[in-house]
Symmetry: C2
Subunit: 353 residues, 2 copies
């Protein structure tokens, strides 16, 4: 598959990715490599990854604990200390080998250690391949507030190796698939249709490539999220609040990111129907498509109230009002839609119906 | 005094500064203002500052504990939580009212909260006026390692109000004066001479202006410190290690930043004499000038060893070698000078002599 090349960084696929990284390591005179993993990618992905690296540089492995609950400043502090002790400097390179938690956190750690040194993302989850690892958003959670602390900084390059997906369970794969479906909803009705038709054993590679291309185009036109890039937040305003809320309730209740935004997309689909003209037939299509893949979650009255309360902390709000990205139709999103709180209850009722 | 205007931000002086800030607040549609102070600037500077502000925006005051020992990630976490609770968003403005600890830490907090919102620096110490508040270096210490964590991000503007200096004691003033003397050493023999001639009651305003202009010129030619900007680190490689070491020994032993780099400049002046051709007469001039203003510090054998050990953590090192900025003569610096560890002992001996 063709590399997706931009003026600031490039996304390479499969063997071409390893070739590009090895060339990059030969060209840049890095002082040392640091590979950030969690215990899962350390076991499942690191051996394959290291065997494909061709370099004489010293390589240090840093392992963090897996899971969203460890996407915290405390974990950053541990890694910053490790980097200090292992002699990292501004000419070091960090390679983030993992899912979205590892690429988001690793990117932030590298961007802030000694005021920033370069990093490469090697996403190992579907979610990270099509979303987290590209676009330059780095960061960690603050308490139960998702991605509250971070910076925008682009990686040197991104390597997408779909072979790593064989290490994921079905729930993890589905979580990433939710973001791919979002790419269809916000920018291509045809892609949405293609994704719905995928059979269990179809290779995902060409679809991953399409999703990366869609996300990349959007990000490059508006890297700092002043306008267009906001469309990527479809499903995420309510989705993030849902994710934060269940994260706070404890690990056994926690939803994966894609599971939360799948619900967010149904709810915000309903808001789109009421506010921005999304047709009822398309709304039903969205709801049915997600409910085929994601089990329905039961919300108590307390859950719903807590989620609505959390919305006001969402980082996409300005001047205290609640801003949404909504759909005009499948394949076309519209930003900066003001939605009144009354509709949230109706949206939950539609989801539960 | 004329404002110093660049393409990314401007430095304004005195009344013109307040006028510029008030105009800026009228033009930009900020959602809310946050003023970060410490207990000293809260008491001594905030009332004057607020009385000069003309805005209808809501203003929240956030106070941190004063002093370098609080320039930590823990303090950032407290302020990030406060910002969340007080409803800060990406359209908020942070105003950092304080010395270098407040402007460095406040700039980092703003640059990383929700992936960054704008900030203005209002330095209240001489050191912050001529150094910390301009140039876009933000950050905090990690353990005893100075400024280990941070980003480079420019403020919207800097307001220099020399009237705030009346709240400083002589030791604090001297600390800032050390950076001004450095500006002379690295870029203007004439300015160095002028500074040496200042009498106790002479107004500092024109000299502050000259120092800001010198620093600004250097920073703008090389904002991310790839080459030229490194000259600003003269005296800082050993100076930072000295500062970190005494900070670790506890607050009663701690040196102010300028006190540490004054020693650093004598030591690195000696290295310049031995490595880069600084004449003995000029070296003596440097030593005498600093020792007139800064009391001599006693270093034990253990102190010296610990300081030399700390050097390898200094963020200006790459590939493990020890890089210095040295002087060819007073008024001209040269970067990327490799110095062997043997000379450090001799440099200390020259200082102690």
């Amino acid at each position: 598959m063709d590399a997706i090349i931009t003026d600031t960084y490039s996304v390479y696929f499969n063997e071409e990715g390893y070739r590009a990284l090895n060339q990059h390591l030969k060209k840049e005179r890095y002082s040392k490599l640091f590979v950030l993993t969690d215990e899962n990618t350390h076991r499942d992905c690191l051996p394959v990854f290291l065997s494909s690296l061709e370099t004489n540089l010293e390589i240090e492995i840093i392992e963090m604990e897996a899971g969203e609950v460890h996407k915290t400043i405390d974990t950053c502090v541990q890694i910053w200390h490790a980097l200090s002790e292992l002699g990292a400097d501004r000419r070091s390179l960090m390679i983030n080998l993992g899912g979205g938690v590892v690429t988001d956190l690793g990117g932030f750690v590298a961007s802030t250690f000694k005021r920033g040194f370069p990093f490469v993302n090697v996403p190992t989850s579907l979610l990270a391949m099509v979303d987290a690892s590209i676009g330059g958003k780095t960061g960690v959670d603050l308490g139960n507030l998702k991605n509250q602390i971070g910076v925008i900084r682009q990686p040197e390059m991104v390597l997408v190796i779909p072979g790593f997906l064989t290490t994921l369970d079905k729930r993890q794969l589905n979580s990433g698939f939710a973001e791919m479906l979002k790419h269809g909803l916000i920018s291509s009705g045809k892609y949405w249709g293609d994704l719905k038709d995928i059979k269990v054993n179809d290779p995902l590679d060409p679809f991953i490539h399409t999703s990366v291309r869609i996300k990349n185009q959007i990000v490059l036109e508006d890297p700092t999220e002043k306008n267009l890039r906001k469309v990527l937040n479809f499903g995420h305003t309510l989705g993030h609040a849902i994710e934060s809320h269940f994260l706070e309730k404890g690990e056994d209740k926690a939803l994966l990111h894609g599971e939360a935004i799948a619900i967010g997309m149904i709810l915000e689909g309903f808001l789109s129907h009421r506010v921005s003209g999304l047709g009822l037939h398309q709304l039903e299509d969205i709801k049915n498509t997600f409910l085929e893949r994601f089990r329905k979650v039961d919300f108590t009255e307390g859950d719903k109230q807590a989620i609505i309360d959390l919305l006001k902390f969402d980082k996409k709000n300005t001047h205290g009002s609640i801003n949404f990205v909504l759909l005009k139709r499948i394949g076309e999103a519209v930003i900066d839609q003001q939605v009144s709180e009354d509709l949230f209850r109706e949206a939950f009722a539609y989801y539960e119906d």
